[in-house]
Amino acid sequence: MSNMILGRYLPGVSWVHRLDARTKFILSMLFIFVIFMANNIYGYLFATAFVALSIIMTGLGFKVFFNGLKPLAMLMLITTFLQLFFMNTGTVLVHWWIFTITTDGVINSVIVFVRFMLIIMFTTILTLTTPPLEVADAMESLMSPLRKIGVPVSELALMVSIALRFVPTLMDEAQSIMNAQRARGVAFNEGGLIQRAKSYVPLLIPLFVNAIKRAIELGDAMEARGYRDGEHRTKFRVLKYTKIDGVAFAAFFIFAIGLFATRFI
């Protein structure tokens, strides 16, 4: 249950780990746009090299990043296949019934596949090298201008932080309740659909009851310590841009220019 790689933080001491969460967040977003500048093989090679270099700098090894692709493998394959069949220009390679595969279709689906993979791998750098709470802090900080138009940014961020904080707790709890019910003879994932669905009742009820109980206790504890909403609270975790953030932005800028340049090769 807890072997989900996607969105799981792996501690480390690399430069990438030490970057401000906001830097990683902004660069991840920018990457999604910038990658569309690539329009030939050199562009994609250049982008692949950049992503590979970034991954090397995390010091986590490529394996965990490829594992991160697995949950999305299905989505990637479907998108790639759709490209393969929907593109009808270029030389026809295979023609069968209503399906036509052309050279352009093949090239395009390869491009879509590579682009998809690069985007996922690059954004995975953020989630693998940044504690979830820091990601939430970064989002709060980046959204703070919205406060001016009355968006309760701090409260939203607090909700996200609390939710993130309890994900591992709930996963562990689900695991132990599941074990307890299996010991009482529940066979999860066996039998027909209805039986399967029914077998989850003994898991979900205690899980929800405990989650609600915990939420009430947390609320009481916060109130007992005088929590009030408001804008001027100080922070325990302070985000701070440092020199390496400047270096990261500069490197990304150079990458973007380089990628733009590959269009003219």
Partner: protein
């Protein structure tokens, strides 16, 4: 059903970056119908061991034999569901497993999953609830309206009602008041004698080990480092302290008197110690 662990190793989430080795080369033997206590520092692998025993996880290495069944890394998970039939397991904080609308229905849940008819399950459930001293008036109450201690007892009844041959108890008394703890332990000891069960008890309370167990496994850092009778285990209190464990208070006191020159030899509980001291003085024996 005798239980044997042979060179058993286990790693949580093996093959992922989060792999956590929890057991290394565990070897032991639990005789049929014995009362075995499992002691060891927190994180030494006790809970992991009993989960392997109940087929909730498969060993990464080695072989587990329970009666005629054998579990290895290659065992099919589906066959394990059937195997659990004879094993009752009370988890740490078992009150988390309650989910039914009434106390009675929750206690009947396990027995019915293992093939008892509704009528049979109801008889077994009522007997189990009586054993744990839940008043009849509570049978139709929601388990979520009970006190923490009562929820614990209902959860335990839910396992006893399955009428297992092996009863595994993972720190069943943690967080209860002293009277409640002693009651529960006495209940388990009686049940073991009456139904001729094999009981495996994980506990940090050496008093109960001295009083009820006839076999002790000492866990340290994922391995069994010593096995023996309580008398053998508690004979070396310095060694136990090194493993962050302790001896029963009676044994400690007896050791202390012995060091002062009294001819005592490591009583395991208060009754035994009283008898020995009375024997020394030469008065009538205790009880």
């Amino acid at each position: 059903m005798a239980i044997t662990f042979k060179n058993v190793g286990f790693t949580y989430q093996a093959g992922t970056p989060f792999a956590t080795p929890a057991l290394y080369d565990v070897n032991f033997n639990i005789p049929d119908h014995s009362f075995t206590a499992v002691i060891g520092h927190t994180g030494s692998g006790k809970s992991t061991m009993v989960q392997l025993l109940d087929g909730l996880e498969l060993p990464t290495d080695g072989e587990i034999t329970i009666g005629s069944a054998t579990i290895t890394a290659a065992t099919k998970r589906k066959t394990l569901n059937g195997m659990r039939h004879d094993i009752g397991m009370v988890f740490q904080f078992p009150e988390a497993q309650l989910f039914e609308q009434t106390v009675l229905a929750d206690v009947m849940f396990g027995p019915m999953n293992y093939g008892m008819s509704k009528a049979e399950a109801e008889i077994a459930a009522k007997a189990a609830l009586a054993l744990v001293q839940m008043p009849e008036s509570s049978y139709e109450a929601s388990p979520f309206d009970l006190s923490g201690g009562q929820m614990r007892r209902v959860a335990i009844a839910g396992v006893i009602a399955m009428e297992p041959e092996i009863l595994i108890l993972d720190e069943p008394t943690a967080g209860l008041d002293p009277a409640g703890q002693a009651d529960l332990m006495a209940l388990f000891a009686n049940l073991q004698k009456e139904r001729d069960l094999t009981v495996i008890l994980i506990t940090h309370q050496m008093e109960f080990v001295g009083q009820y167990a006839d076999n002790v496994l000492v866990f340290d850092a994922g391995s069994v480092v010593k096995t023996g009778t309580p008398a053998e285990i508690f004979a070396d209190s310095d060694w136990l302290r090194q493993k962050q464990l302790d001896v029963p208070a009676a044994t400690q006191f007896s050791d202390y008197l012995e060091a002062k020159g009294l001819p005592l030899h490591g009583a395991l509980d208060l009754d035994q110690l009283a008898d020995e001291i009375v024997g020394l003085i030469g008065g009538p024996t205790h009880e």
